[in-house]
Symmetry: C2
Subunit: 381 residues, 2 copies
Amino acid sequence: MQNSHPNHPPGAFQLLAQDGAARRGRLFTAHGAVETPIFMPVGTVGSVKAVAPDDLHALGAEIILGNTYHLYLRPGDELVARRGGLHGFTAWNKPFLTDSGGFQAFSLSCLRKISEQGVEFRSHLDGSKHLFTPEKVVQIQRNLNSDIMMVLDECVPYGTPRDYTEKSIKMTTSWALRSLSARSEFPKDTAVNLMFAITQGGFFKDLRRASVEELSRHDFDGFAIGGLSVGEPKDEMYELLEHTAPLLPAGKPRYLMGVGTPRDIVTGIGWGVDMFDCVLPTRNARNGTLYTSLGKLNIKRREYAEDDRPLDPACHCYTCRAFSRAYLRHLFAAREILSFRLNSLHNLTYFLDLARRARAAIEAGTFAELKREIEYLYPEG
Amino acid sequence: MQNSHPNHPPGAFQLLAQDGAARRGRLFTAHGAVETPIFMPVGTVGSVKAVAPDDLHALGAEIILGNTYHLYLRPGDELVARRGGLHGFTAWNKPFLTDSGGFQAFSLSCLRKISEQGVEFRSHLDGSKHLFTPEKVVQIQRNLNSDIMMVLDECVPYGTPRDYTEKSIKMTTSWALRSLSARSEFPKDTAVNLMFAITQGGFFKDLRRASVEELSRHDFDGFAIGGLSVGEPKDEMYELLEHTAPLLPAGKPRYLMGVGTPRDIVTGIGWGVDMFDCVLPTRNARNGTLYTSLGKLNIKRREYAEDDRPLDPACHCYTCRAFSRAYLRHLFAAREILSFRLNSLHNLTYFLDLARRARAAIEAGTFAELKREIEYLYPEG
């Protein structure tokens, strides 16, 4: 599927329709086009947990996310490079986006030291010491042959003071430029790895604006909003999102990192965001929390023990076509491995369908209705 | 699929070919015919671990085994009955065989008391007290709507003295007759649940013969060899098997319970056994031990880290078609849930293919060659 769109080089982004601030687009990558708005399932260590590539194709997944931190530690990016990158290694032949690994280096590692040079951290697996510099992180993602690489950034926690946040966005910008420069050294004929910058700025609107203004002067293929959904109250997140999304360059894809719930996603789309990723559908699947056209459902509950209806009567996934709530509850209660897969297939279908419905609604000019429906079904997000 | 063969009522058994003592047959059940020799994947608690019904169809599974003990405790056989039995509950629409639950009541329960009445035991889940009588166990399997029910029996451990074994087979026979009588009370038009007796006799050839002679006087639909593969040396098991299998009625299916390795299976087939079940392919899959056309392979091993070949070049399963040993090793090392499924798909394919190859070899009169090949590939069993 390499370069399946000869007229559209990787990185080309078409805006196909607009409905208010919501955008319907198409992003070209070396492994095919991605229709936006899109939800990206998370394949942390090179597999979307409990789900195989043939499942993902059946669900209509278009792009999945790989975690640079995890893949760097195990099996190692050089080993992956020798297998033909992530596509060759995992047998997923559609686009991959990889994060920068910075977030995991901060959150999973007990010892970490941030300096202008980069992030020093200890592996959560064996305690070994490692250094992520912007250049190193680009090289790792290049080894993974990621279709969309993210630059190393610092994601500051909720409540970080203004002066630290101010210094932090300066460093994040300087790291982003070092990343661009590292990519420019790739041989031209194989340079098909897009690069997105990550805007930061904590919970200060003027710093958010400053971060976007500095980064958008440079030739990135897309722009992400980082540092949201880090523990802040929902209304504060939505306020920042409303403020920030419209500042991002209109001609490039916009990506809201690590977000979120169905309500977060329609809120983001409503303010012009194009791409989302989150572990929520797969992690919640393993906890028995399922997303349906009737709202959230906890399959653990006693009331489903003798419920012969499908999990979601409106859903077309294998789980909903073949099994009853009673059986799904039993599998969950018995801690059967099959429970993880069937629940994950369903939740991913829900999130991918939500993106599909958003695309159709934007084309039809009815996005506001879809947004209201989701807000009604998921009042708490 | 109820009664898909109107000319062959459930229980009819055809012998289609013979090669030495090895038999090629066909057993009719209420949910379709089963081609023998056959390997039955084990679906302990109502799912073959990590594998869905659509996977099982793709692998060519013809019949699966459910554990009466587990299903009785959770979700409960009456709940399953209200869902349309195991077929309705699990969405597996081909035949089910269910064991009697006796083996698990003996092996999983800390407190158990065996008397002529039955087996009293405590649940391994919550310590609650239960009594399995022969009649109760038939009723449970009837609630599960099992295609092939097994009678309650006592499986004596390796090393049990002669006098205990002698008394035990008397009780097992009396339990079997009580089971037949319990089944005779089912309404005739719905009595499609076959019933197999289980011959015992420990490691005493004359007691094995006595058990078979007593049980084979009665109208069971098939006969099992129980109490093998319980810790004895391999050659002793094979000697007992060689002694016992030919004693079983020739016109009925013969089932070797809980066995075994590829070598055990071809050995059993060679002595005229028709049916096998074992957790080995699925349990070993989860431990990383994989069965291939080149012998056993432990996917954990460092030597596979950069091995881009398929797991088994001769295999047609999804795992072998889509992935490399390097990726499978990575999934196993990272303890990804997908590893369990992909390994299980492969191992089940190996065991089901072995049965398929045995059937073809018996038809062609070349079974001895297949047996030699497996003995060479799996010298230790």
